[in-house]
Symmetry: C2
Subunit: 257 residues, 2 copies
């Protein structure tokens, strides 16, 4: 494990949070966000308010099984003590699951080599009260074999402009999708997507597109054409946020040690 050489520590936190009550990660005026609530808890423990760098912006209602962020502090409290103190100061819907010292150069966003999201779809006829806010309720027939075949069309390095809510701010829309798999257990379908990076709403548009494939609105072999069109209007709708979970963030060992 990395040992800090002076009192300017750079600390990585892994969070697990239920995003239901939050307007996403990033601090905003007039809305409660995960970053703001986390910074409040850090300030309560450390006595001063550190800026916290997150691995990504997440939208309102999006959840995280593992969200990475880092901050700097001159505190000399050991990491296990910080972890316990932060959890004692945080509300029940946010938990710190890991806390460790990382090298000065580590940056939660720029050092990330990739991320994995999951998207949960509940395909039961009647809504499930325990999945409200935690999965998209889709009570219609799902053609999972067709969705699986279509999923293969996303794999690889492509310009994903068709799968980006146009905000014009990102020049380079080339990303590499390395995994896109559909797992089915009872009435719950889980879409798992791994890439070196994601455009705005990319996973939710991929899921909306796979649902269009299930409905026969987009052919299962047409994903390469939809990608090639580089046009948002060729892809399916943006699936709602509450089925989406940031599941893992990948860092090179080099950035961490």
């Amino acid at each position: 494990m990395y040992e800090p050489t002076d009192k300017n520590r750079n600390i990585l936190l892994l969070l697990r949070f239920d995003g239901t009550a939050y307007h996403g990660w990033q601090v905003q005026k007039n809305a409660v966000t995960v970053q703001q609530v986390l910074q409040d808890a850090l300030e309560a423990v450390l006595g001063s308010r550190p800026g916290v760098t997150g691995c990504s912006r997440t939208d309102a209602g999006v959840h995280a099984c593992e969200y990475a962020c880092n901050f700097r502090t001159s505190s000399n409290i050991p990491c296990d003590g910080l972890l316990r103190a932060f959890n004692a100061s945080l509300p029940a819907d946010i938990a710190v699951t890991a806390c460790r010292d990382v090298p000065e150069r580590f940056h939660a966003r720029y050092s990330a080599a990739g991320k994995e999201y999951i998207y949960k779809i509940y395909n039961g006829e009647t809504r499930d009260p325990f999945l409200e806010g935690y999965a998209l309720h889709y009570p219609y027939r799902l053609d999972i074999p067709a969705m699986r075949r279509a999923a293969g069309g996303f794999i690889g390095r492509h310009d994903f402009s068709s799968f980006c809510t146009s905000n014009g701010s990102v020049a380079d829309r080339v990303r590499e999708v390395t995994l896109l798999e559909l797992g089915s257990k009872g009435a719950l379908l889980t879409v798992r997507v791994r890439a070196d990076g994601f455009l705005y709403n990319m996973v939710r548009i991929i899921v909306g597109t796979l649902l269009n494939v299930s409905q026969g609105r987009i052919g299962e072999g047409d994903i390469p054409d939809v990608i090639a069109a580089r046009s948002r209007s060729c892809a399916g709708p943006t699936a709602p946020p509450h089925g989406l979970y940031l599941n893992r963030v990948f860092y090179e060992a080099e950035a961490m040690n």
Copy 2:
């Protein structure tokens, strides 16, 4: 399936509900209950307010995967139409999962031959935001083999006075526990209890007692003595309500057809 012979139909509903927001099943003054919200929805659909008979009282915060209740109506809407209409009128944390005509003599409580509860214990070190309100967070070491051996001592027909919050109102405290098993998956321990009937807080006191066995406060072979004492003070504490789920209600085919 039973066909009603006149317009005085007796209808069985199965519910699935997240009990977090409710003060249990039974209608109370100054508190929102599942029975009240259900009766509101039934009234909205049927135009008159039926009394609904539940299979049991549940405490505040207790959940149900399958809760049975029945009511009488002269409506001639078919059951599948009632099911859809009730679900459209109910809030997201309560769902009707089944609706069927049953014989006049069917009574959700008196006709029940048995029930099954499950109790979820999350044994991870750090709290899990997705299990807040849905499992007891118990971050200490669990001796599951000792708990399993102790569980065997509950099986059979016994006076369970030691496992009843004394309210003095129930004269006969003899119940038959037919199943008590512990399932472990990752950090989640699920206690499953089946009996012909349950006393007030019985499952929660059984769980508190099993946790005392894990802690070595009660010997794993001492359950028969705790039962024989017929004294609440000999058993463990009452585990909190939010880990408890009414999982199934059993009826004889005769009562249903």
